[in-house]
Amino acid sequence: MGQETVIELKDVTTSFFSRKQELTVVDRVSFSVEKGETVAIVGESGSGKSMTSLSIMQLVPAPNGKITNGEIIFNGEDLLKKSKKDMHKVRGNDISMIFQEPMSSLNPVYTIGEQLREQLMYHQPLSKREAHEKGIEMLEIVGFARAREMMREYPHRLSGGMRQRVMIAMALSNNPKLLIADEPTTALDVTVQAQILDLMRGLSKDYDSSIILITHDLGVVAELAQRVVVMYGGQVVEEAKIDEIFDKPLHPYTEGLLNSMPKLNDEQTRLQSIPGSVPTPDNFPKGCRFVTRCPYAMQVCTEEQPTLLEKETGHKVRCFLHEEGVGKDGNIDRRSKQTQ
């Protein structure tokens, strides 16, 4: 791993504009994905994971959402500099995406076959016949036994898990270099989740494809990803290899996330969730965005923003605890936070 970078985000910033204000929901996000690698983006709801992935696709909801800064280098080219027309060739072809909501992501009025074929034919010079056969093949790959019949079905006849598999089949149909999976299993029940995850694990192995896996479920991360990007309040707060994240998380938020994760070998331990909730973009604290909930918060955290620093090779963190000159036993001021 690590020989070839498939995509690299540099300081990508995305905001929503309303008459009153500009809300930055993706704030100078940088990370990269290597060939064959699965990178997980984790973080609680509202932390900007979906917006980050939609920024890559340039599908941030128009007209209010705009990417205001940064570069997205893909295949050596900056996607943000590409024309609209060229982006049509990238989406669904070089980069595919599957979404959080399998129930509503398929068009109810077209058959599965139609929805598969149209994507194939849009990007490849295939006849309808060929596209049909290819579609069947894709359905078989994602595990449909009666793929041929499935082509004729309408989405409403399928369960959530089946639909998500169709979405995956569609996303993979043009052999994308990068697959973005935005919480592919969140809406599904547990057994189905496992099947989908198995499927994805298999695919990434078999096809050596790169995946950006978005989730707030660290269990999923542990199963699939090689690297983890932790987001909070639109920012990357920590980035590390999978084992480092689990073994020695640096950021208090990551620590909190891990504590809230049920552990299989320790059933008695109460699930510990992080107190408080993610601040909304119009309500971000002036200093560290986690300061309202951080057990180690210091005076400085309320005033200044920490920067994302590479603490060890391949392990980045955004926290004053890990910046030079700020001690861990500095100005802890928990009580005042709680009464806020």
């Binding site: 696709m57 599908l59 007209p63 982006m87 049509h88 060739k89 990238v90 989406r91 669904g92 072809n93 595919s96 995406m97 979404f99 909501e101 509503s104 992501s105 398929l106 068009n107 109810p108 009025v109 077209y110 149209e118 994507q119 849009y122 990007h123 309408y154 409403h156 979405m167 569609m170």
Partner: protein, 315 residues
Amino acid sequence: MTTYIIRRLLITIPLLIAISIITFALMQFAPGSPAVLDVDPNVPPEAREAQIEAMGLNEPLPVQYARWISGVVTGDFGNSYITKRPVSDMLLERLPNTLILMTAATILAIIIAIPIGIISAVRQYTKTDYAITLVSFAGVAVPNFWIGLMLIMFLSVQFGWFPVGGVQTLNADFNIMDRIHHLFLPALVLATADTAQLTRYTRTSMLEVKNQDYIRTARAKGFKESKVILKHGLRNALLPLITLIAIMLPTLIGGSVVVESVFSWPGLGDLFMTSVNQRDYPVIMIITMLTAVLVVIGNLIADILYAIVDPRIEY
């Protein structure tokens, strides 16, 4: 499917019976007696009695109703009080004109409203959108007859581009172009209110669809915006409009009363107007019933169509 349609038709029957009773009752309670009985107070009481008896107006209401409705069911609509001709003849010579006008108006409304509604939705909150919204509100608010008179004033009288009225050039042989030439203005006027309304609904429906997840999926597939909107958006947006077009039917029928008078279009609306003025009850009642039946059929067709185009609906 067939059973579904049959079931729907069966549900329709009590509805129609109810409508027929209401229609009949309304006519009974309408002020004044039939015009012919009013006109001349000099008619000797005996003659008047005889006439009332001949018309069966002295029998108990349920009997009168039963006789009327059994006639209606068997296609015997009775004779007009005024012209003495069979009501069915009077309807038949006018029904085609009205159907042509309404069909043309519906088609016009659809082909004008849907593209405009889509543009309005796609360009939400732009000047185009505001202009369309304004015009369509005006279209709903401005009365048909006024628009009709204005168009006649300018396009027909001033510029001579269109005939003032009628279905075809007087005493000319049948000519399809001539027919269309005569049809255009009345159909356009009849279509205005519905066009405006349909534009509004298309816009709303499209806006709703635009935010659906499958639209995002279509975009993620790389499709051009036009394909996203026209293939994945439109069909979903149009589904609810099918019902709407059926609901438009009563407005069309109502509108045709005015439009047909303004454009001297010899249809049912025109006949209805004349009959109301002359209190020609047999004609009024049948047209009312016919309207009700049309509306019911319209709804039925809409439901069936809906079931056909929306794969989610099972019978």
